[in-house]
Amino acid sequence: MISYLVFVLVVAGIYALLAQSITISWGLTGMVNLGLVGFFAIGAYASAMASKWGGIPIPFSLLLAVIVGFAAGLAVTMSTLRLRDDYLAIVTLGFAEVVRLVASNEIWLTGGTDGIAGVPSIFPRDWALGYHLATLGLVTAIVALVHLLLSHLSKSPWGRVLRAIREDQTIASVAGKQVVRFKAQAFSIGAAIAALAGALYGHFTSFVAPEIYQPLITIYVFLAVTAGGVGRPLGALVGAYLLIGLLESTRFIAEIVPGISPLQGAALREIIIGVLLVLVLRLRPAGLFPELPQKAPLVTKHEPAS
């Protein structure tokens, strides 16, 4: 029971990282990333391949995942930075599909649909419960670290520029900000966080395969972020843990609802998630922890941010 609980908390931490990724690109900057799961997958594969086949120590393979995620973020935004935001939605959605296609078909590179089993773990597995607890400690520490970083960034001049871009790109660029550069940075940092989450998850479960990276994960995270509060780092955090609580409590739905098959139970679960997202968008678009109005900073000296 305890190890189940610890396992769930680790997964919740992974989702918290994904939610933080969305907070920086969507919450702060207004750039939608509907291909979140693609970056999650890329990070998982990069770190798993580097550590298993390349023999690279895990701290470095995690770093590699972050770099690869950042680069993928840059590549994906490159073509749409100057366009309306709907184009980014289409491109990111397509990107996640292509990642899954490549992962399933380039067997020499990714093991195809069989995936990569036996991904090295961060801590020795024979610690049993200790293994789960240690991973939980590590993941939670990373979540806390990213949270501090995000809270700091969101209050910094850089974060203010992102908000300005979200509210009105034209005004931001008239104010002398290089909109395209800021957008590329924000999106790619978000992508890098998602890749880190994927890498951690891969090492934790020791298994990486295309079927894990379903588009549904992106929906889960958007639900978490909108329910928690778009544009506020605390909201993403709370939303992610709430989401996992909900997902786990609906896990046994097929056993509770009479007369449905396991397949229908799984379908019902996804329907519930979809309906919740529609409801949250409608009823509480600002989330449980709405973004705070930003006070004008009391600075006497001039601080340039571009």
Partner: protein, 289 residues
Amino acid sequence: MLNSIAQAALNGVVSGTILAIPAIGFTAIFAVLRYPNFAIGAIATVGAYAGWFANTQLGLPLTLSLFATFIVAGSVAVLCEEIAIRPLEKSGALMMAICSLAVGIIIENLVRGAFGNDPRGYAVALARDMRFGGLRVSPQQIENLLIAVAIMAILWSLLKFTRLGRAMRASADNPDLARLKGVNPALVAGVAVAVSGGLAGAGGLLIALDTSADPLTGSRLILSIFAAAVLGGLGSIPGAVVGALTVGIFEELTVLLLSPNYRTAIGFVFILVVLTFQPTGLFGARNAK
């Protein structure tokens, strides 16, 4: 070699013409309501099942099944729009897009819950391929092609010659001016969604005729639909047709070089290239910025 290229191009023309039907639906919603509706794939799936149900369970002939499918898929699209998506109009296009993604998941799983994951085939007679020179084409392909062309012809004449069609084109061009001229925006939006949903459903039926209906029939199309619409210029109906033909032909040609699994990835390459060099697409006059 030359023969296999010609054969691939021929197959591409057929699949591209069918792809044009849901692509028109996607681009038309964008033209009138100005958001990308990601539920279009799931609505195509609804069409695939509605057609299968009418064809095999009710025993209707193909044309009647197609008609029924159009009505069912159109109604589902209108319901989704009215219940879930349109209330978010004030929150902006991206919120509507995200909402449509959630709606797509709901529909797909409703279908899965009702019919399961097993593929469902239509009751159509298998016929021998016809040969023209070295090229093979099945009677089913020809029939699908003709149906798709007929649907486009009907749509074109409705848009061109009816009052409502003119109102729709006017709204897409300049919604404020259209409203000033007495066009009812709610009516135009409703009709656009109904017709687009019907088209997506009809597209799903035509695809399922060739293969079979399963809960992912529509989602598998989604990349190709995006690519067709973006290539033609988001919001342009003739653009979606040309885009779909191009994407269809290139998808088939890719199969000659790469694994058939990469068929749909070519769509993504198209999207990136078009957005980088010519974001308004081939026919898009609309400002993409």
